[in-house]
């Protein structure tokens, strides 16, 4: 039986060739897969740990505090200390909980964050699986988390958790629609669903070519990750902790890892789709560095937004998805389709010049659309009883003698 396997991934090939000589084919295939899985799982967990540290320190700075700085240099070991503490805590299960679902929910929550990494190209030829339907895979995997949230909320047998789960599922399903539609624009320009091809086709970063999808995708991803201003599912000031109210110990640690790991992987997807992935000077050698830097920028954006904004109410959140983001993605899809139709050459390929033309058109379109729909949504979201501000300029200050 031949052990020939073609893969662009050097690590994969290395493990495969090293073990291929003396082991049966399927074992070396498995070994190569396990080696990469090991690295990926740890990458997610380590990424989550780094992100937790960065978030706590940065939010400390936003708050005029110092943030955790006791454990390790600059407090870098703080996330590990947190996890250790959670591991040693008692693992409580509520009396009337559905025990199996209650146990499975945190695992189901963490799985999508790890699975998503499988198709992300970290540097040139370093994707674990360069699927030709990469985007489809990413979307399919992220939508799993709504099931996990429902599992967690329902099995806890807690009304706050149920509230959070109902909210979370409603938000996740609503936000998937605009996210999918806006990514179609990206696929149209790139001419491929494979993430590696999308990176390669970004002679001009899609942040410029597709500004509206970038905006819609960031908003949708924040909603799917339960980050402010879209964190209604765990809204700590309303629902205590939302769907994970009853979780403690290791299960809670898993949920936290899924949440923060989710932000890291989502940042990676954003970078891949819109910021040119590993592209940059000397990208053949330093691709991973550019990739990490860009991921850092996007993750910082998430932290910044979280520290600055209040939370929307659930009905306003839904209105935002259906009345604002959905029209924007539809308009963008339509415009992009027209542009691609008229600008592509006979082979169906877009030249760099064409991308710059699209950049111009789409930036103008994006600005107009956001301004237009922004004013419309503002009127729709605000309650009926709202009256125009009468005291913004000359504050009505009652004089009493």
């Amino acid at each position: 039986m031949s052990c020939a396997l073609t893969s662009d991934n050097p690590l994969y090939s290395l493990v495969y060739e090293l073990t291929g000589g003396f082991l049966p084919c399927w074992v070396s295939y498995l070994a190569a897969g396990l080696a990469i899985m090991f690295i990926l799982v740890n990458a997610v967990l380590l990424g989550a740990a780094v992100f937790v540290f960065a978030e706590r320190r940065l939010i400390g700075r936003f708050h005029n505090r110092i943030g955790p700085n006791r454990w390790g240099p600059f407090g870098t070991f703080q996330p590990f200390a947190d996890v250790l503490k959670l591991i040693f805590k008692e693992d409580l299960t509520p009396a009337n909980a559905d025990k199996i679902v209650f146990l499975a929910a945190p695992i189901a929550m963490l799985a999508p964050a790890i699975l998503m990494l499988a198709v992300v190209p970290f540097a040139k030829n370093t994707a674990l699986a360069d699927l030709n339907v990469g985007i489809l895979y990413v979307l399919a995997v992220t939508s799993l988390s709504s099931v996990a949230i429902l599992m967690a909320g329902w099995s806890s047998n807690n009304r706050y958790a149920m509230f959070g789960a109902a909210r979370g599922v409603a938000v996740l399903i609503s936000y998937e629609v605009p996210v999918v539609l806006c990514l179609l624009g990206v696929v149209l320009v790139a001419g491929s669903m494979s993430l590696s091809d999308i990176v390669k086709s970004q002679a001009v970063p899609f942040l410029l070519v597709q500004p509206l999808p970038m905006f819609v995708f960031l908003a949708g991803v924040s909603a799917e990750l339960n980050r402010t201003p879209f964190d209604v599912a765990e809204a700590e000031s309303e629902l205590v902790a939302g769907y994970h109210t009853e979780y403690s110990g290791v299960k809670f640690a898993l949920i936290q890892a899924a949440e923060f790991g989710g932000v890291v992987t989502a940042s990676m997807v954003v970078v891949t789709l819109f910021l040119g992935g590993w592209a940059g000077p000397l990208s053949d050698y330093l691709g991973w560095l550019w990739f990490l830097l860009k991921v850092g920028v996007i993750a910082f954006l998430f932290i910044w937004v979280r520290a600055s904004f209040p939370r929307l109410r659930i009905d306003q959140l839904m209105a935002f998805a259906w009345k604002f983001l959905l029209p924007l993605s539809l308009i963008n899809l339509f415009a992009t389709a027209l542009e691609v139709f008229f600008l592509r050459d006979s082979m169906g390929v877009l030249a760099t010049n064409d991308l710059w033309i699209m950049t111009g058109i789409n930036l103008a379109l994006g600005a107009v659309c956001i301004a237009l729909f922004g004013t419309m949504i503002r009127e729709k979201i605000r309650p009926v009883t709202w009256e125009p501000a009468t005291r913004t300029a000359g504050m009505t200050v009652g004089e009493v003698t």
């Binding site: 708050h63 009304r159 000031s237 309303e238 904004f309 979201i381 009883t385 009652g398």
Partner: protein, 368 residues
Amino acid sequence: MPIRTEPMTINVGPQHPSTHGVFRLRVTFDGEEILEVEPIFGYLHRGTEKLAEERNYVQIITLTDRLDYVSSMINNQAYCLAVEQLLGVEPPLRAKWLRTMVAELQRIASHLMGIGFFLQDLGTLGTPLMYGFRIREKILDLFEMLCGARITLAYMRPGGVFSDTPPDFWPALEAFMAEFPSEIGEIEQLVMENEIVLVRTKGVSPLPLDLAINCSVSGPILRASGLAWDWRKEEPYDAYQWVDFDVPMGANGDNYDRFWVRMQEIRQSERIIRQCMEYMEPGPVRLDLPLVVRPESGAEAYGRVEASKGELAFYMLSDGGVSPYRCKIRAPSLINLTVTEHLLVGWKLADMIVTLGSLDINMGEVDR
């Protein structure tokens, strides 16, 4: 086809992150919407009024500190005014100015906490709260210079204040006042025009003026509903008759107006403090009263101030002994809570938390 839904009753509190103490609400929801609300309180009852009947008049000051524990100075002031009325004495001029000044400092600190937790309930991750706490810490440092304590101050006495200011107090106060406008400006910049704050608070849970008056609501909540009623203006006590300030007034009585009124009152308090710093002159700060006073039998008094949460009043009745025969406290938070049901029913869960935050209740005062 209408979807059949089932009402769900949830106990919000007494252990809930946003009930501002041990406040409990039994709420029935239809989906997200509130059908019924039943506020339940009393978890922090300590029998303050009864304890006061067993203490002498100076000892009671420490009890008043623990009513609204984020504005102890103003509680002290109301109590001391009542006792002074009971004894028929008048504190010296400098004491009046000092009391006015520290009461306004305390009002700023209390409003900053009210606003901070209100915005926290809106879902900010505590950034405006921490901005507020940065200012509050400095105020507490000033209080520490004055009387050695930060929260439970017991600074005022019947007939004046505990002691004059230490020499390093005035430079510290001046430094604080120099930084204050820009620091409060940062909070205003961050939240006052924020689209999400406007969308979440404008028009939400309005309190009509007639209902507010009928329920005897007072303080910023009443003023937000459109009545510029302030005891500092209506019945000036201590040095308020000599200072110049405005009474901010809202129009709609919604959550935004309550928040806006507090924000403007901070600015007005700043004006009052500046005037106090300017007009205060050296002099005695305390009447020479005996430690244990015995007001004449049958004397009664009603000491009333505009506290940060509303009208705070002490009704005192003496039987000629060393302690009052009766000490009744009119706690603004408790009376402001009477409109809870009207404000909450028909709104959503998220609004409920925000509205509670905008009422700015303090359980130490509600339960006493």
